[in-house]
Assembly symmetry: D2
């Protein structure tokens, strides 16, 4: 297929740019266009459940409202998140914020009680509020149940959080389950452990697998939106092995395949493991999620509404 040169214009819509990318079809532009097409097809396919994994600093990095919108619009059916993205969602829900880093060095930041994630800063005051709020929530939940799975815990938390921009709260209200296999490795995990020290409260590490595999079995087809990350990506892929793999998937990450890490592996590799079906629609975009995903999702919204 011939590579068409890309035209841009004043007042251009995102969908028109993505269509130009589609007509070019090569390098990054081609990969972005194919990912957008697959995303729109996944959302539109009524027989397909859409799983989304959230790795890397997506919530601190500005993706919170998009995730929440996808839940509200019914464009995602299941979320697999890092513990950090859940923690940072709640930090904002409890009134905290993230700030653009202004160039202090890490020892200065340490003295001022500011944590750095690349060019994003978060203040320890906001974590102090997080700690007291989440502990209060744990109290409420543990008074009802002594043993919970991680997914149940996140559901209960979501119901108790009052912020319409919170993806954890919005997911709970829309009955979209959130799984977080590495939850323990996060600020929330730490608070969970501290809380469990003097409360009769057990979080079962394995219990979610049953519920997750039920969802996979009950889905006629499964598509996946894999944003950053290693563990969250792998868990999403692996949960679909039981039915021969994903039917469609897109991934956006800056990680690369050479050193063999799962995060950087191209999606094709998943076929060998029956984590993606042979013949499935796959697109791997090498790029920064905070640029590429808003672009793709905005264009997919047009593709969907245009039908």
């Amino acid at each position: 297929m011939k590579v068409n040169q890309i035209d841009v214009d004043n007042s251009m819509k995102i969908i028109d740019l993505i269509n130009q990318f589609d007509d070019s079809g090569v390098l990054g532009a081609g990969r972005v266009a194919r990912a957008c097409n697959i995303l729109a097809e996944m959302i539109q396919d009524e027989d397909m459940s859409v799983f989304m994994s959230l790795g890397g600093p997506l919530i601190p990095g500005g993706m919170r409202n998009i995730v929440t919108k996808m839940i509200n619009e019914g464009h995602v059916d299941l979320i697999i998140s890092s513990g950090a993205n859940i923690t940072h969602d709640l930090v904002e829900a409890f009134g905290g914020a993230h700030y653009r880093h202004e160039g202090k060095d890490d020892e200065e930041l340490n003295e001022e009680g500011i944590g750095r994630i690349a060019d994003i800063n978060v203040g320890s005051d906001d974590f102090t509020i997080f700690e007291s709020e989440i502990t209060e929530i744990f109290e409420k939940i543990s008074s009802k149940k002594q043993v919970v799975s991680i997914q149940e815990l996140l559901y209960e938390i979501g119901l108790l959080v009052d912020d319409e921009n919170s993806f954890v709260a919005t997911a709970a209200r829309n009955n979209i389950p959130i799984f977080a296999p590495g939850l323990i490795d996060s600020m929330m995990g730490l608070q969970l452990w501290i809380f469990s020290q003097d409360h009769d409260f057990v979080v079962d590490a394995v219990a979610d697998m049953h519920y997750l595999s039920d969802i996979v079995f009950e889905s006629e087809k499964v598509g996946a939106v894999l944003l950053g990350g290693g563990l969250t990506k792998h868990y999403t892929l692996a949960s679909n092995v039981i039915k021969g793999g994903l039917d469609a998937a897109i991934q956006i990450t800056m990680d690369r395949p050479e050193a063999g890490s799962l995060g950087g592996a191209p999606l094709e590799e998943a076929k060998s493991w029956a984590k993606a079906k042979c013949g499935s629609s796959l697109a791997s975009v090498v790029g920064d999620v905070t640029v590429i995903f808003p672009l793709i999702y905005a264009a997919a919204l047009d593709k969907i509404s245009g039908d």
Copy 2:
């Protein structure tokens, strides 16, 4: 400054997404927004000459019409290109095309006479036409001049090429000089050598420096758009040393700084060499030019027209 979460919508314009990126201000989205702001300012500043360097497979990869548009709109004043981008511009001008690669391996492509650039294919038939056309053009030019600089050669070629989408032709007609310090390392360089074997025709390697430095001296300020590449980027930076460095610059590349290559170096480094002024406006975007530059330029068009 607080990180605002990014909102997207159906029917969204590119400029609105870039404004969202600006309000977020972090990670890739922040870098893209800052690069867009600097680009718009460079274009709008009547005292600033805009230099643009073209490295990597930009013309095969779909950027040809954008470069040509920038020339026609008066948004670029001087181009520094790899020999390959000039060659591929002329391949299309002479009726050739680039194609999306369909997965054959490199030994099969070799047998079929197809060259591969990542996921782009080019056929040897198109190069055969290129060879006869460019030789005819060399005949015409050499009948008028025996010694030319590379910039003069490209200007003369541009005047003889009849394709309104060709950036080489459009630059010549708009008196936008094209420099190509590595021209010899390209298909055109090869043809130039073959031609010079039996013609009295010398291309002076050093001659362009005088003209280029005159332009730098006569420019009140210089801004640079650095797309991909090592040599083309460095030549652009180095040509500005004589006046204390660039006043503004953006760069888009997937190359990284760790191994010390010039292509991957952040623009800040140029300040130490007086290739960018202390206090200059600089933005380095890590990303695929074919995605990022159309996005940035389209939004810059809105910023410009909005004033």
Copy 3:
């Protein structure tokens, strides 16, 4: 400090090359030399506990004997591993193997029951054996205990595995604890879930935090060797927050910082979070672990024995 040019020679020892790198001190060579110096100091410091995190395909990729040697030599005091590295260690312990990938595509591999990790292949037969062996081991363990932490589980498994090259077995015999916060996201995690379906066996997700934090508290100083990975790296860093952060650390990964992922973040960033102490000795090497770590560890062995 002046950059000395690097000399190499016939019959050269690794330690001599690393010393040359040290005298050069710049780019990758300089980073490798500094990481080697820190590693040797961590091992030699009798007051320092050495934690090691294992992310990415280290065991399939050839690092198994080195990890085992480090345990036997007393050069590592605590391991934080991905579930996959534990699974692949046991695959080899149960008689399986990894193979160099010979270029088949992923759909062909799927048909032949071969999983691919970059250029490494693993056969499904070896996983079948893994499944029956690990299930037998679960039987034995669950007959003694109904609730275990992940670390306890791995210790009990290690004692039941008869392979002196297995790092899981060697760690158990040397009382080196292995933590695996994301264990559930691996083949072993899957088998654990299947087993727990019809057995009274609970793996407590939070329970290990107590033991881990005790070790941190009891260590006068802690140093970390961070190989690849996101979750395993973060868990190692985060476990040290309670005492103000690591005293020394080296990391080797191909992941990069631009997109903000934890795996690619330079170690300096950990200081802002009090995950590494201000003033701690840190070295971040951008490179392939399978090349860089054997090189560094071999040279560190010389540095240690030379004292």
Copy 4:
């Protein structure tokens, strides 16, 4: 082929580690071992000319003595260098030096007259000496010849430089030609231009192609060692098209293929263009040249002497 686990030991030789990498055969370790084998075979093959390209900051980064040693040992027959590597070789030959960067920011460095290349610093005083010395050399050469090719110029310079560690001087004394298609884009290129302003001295851009193609035609086989870079790599590849491509090649670079740049392209791609022969021995290593090349060359010295 089975992946063998890598063993390391106290007092280990580099060749023994590379042999361990060979027995592992996967990921970075496998690529390094294959590159080492190809390098040793290229050097030992008496019918094969070895071309070496020098891109990126190799001389500032510590590779100078290795390049010089390769010339003295007869392990390289032709060099294609960036202008910068030649400039920095002469900076050291004229008594200058490179220094490890100590963390000042680029505006401070600018004020102190220090240029930065990643973590390497160079002082403007050393460039001042370079300028006067090279101008004196240009005087001597131009008094003999009015028109020179770049290769001839570098040969004449080499003869006039008195430093046994200089690769430019050593190459001249050993009749190893140095090509530098992008010479003009370097400090030396700038001095050349300034000199040519008031001297009758022309550097012919195309003239070297004849000599270079003669060497290619006269070589029974050609192998290439491609270190970093875009232009220097491409020129090396392209010069071999006339005989159907290279017979063997290794490349070491941190650049990646996704965005389509020539520097990051895997060597396989060269087959489609007949720049490497179908069936040729090729190895592409993703890594930092300053670590990987000393390692590979040191081991190759053992392989060669062992026969």
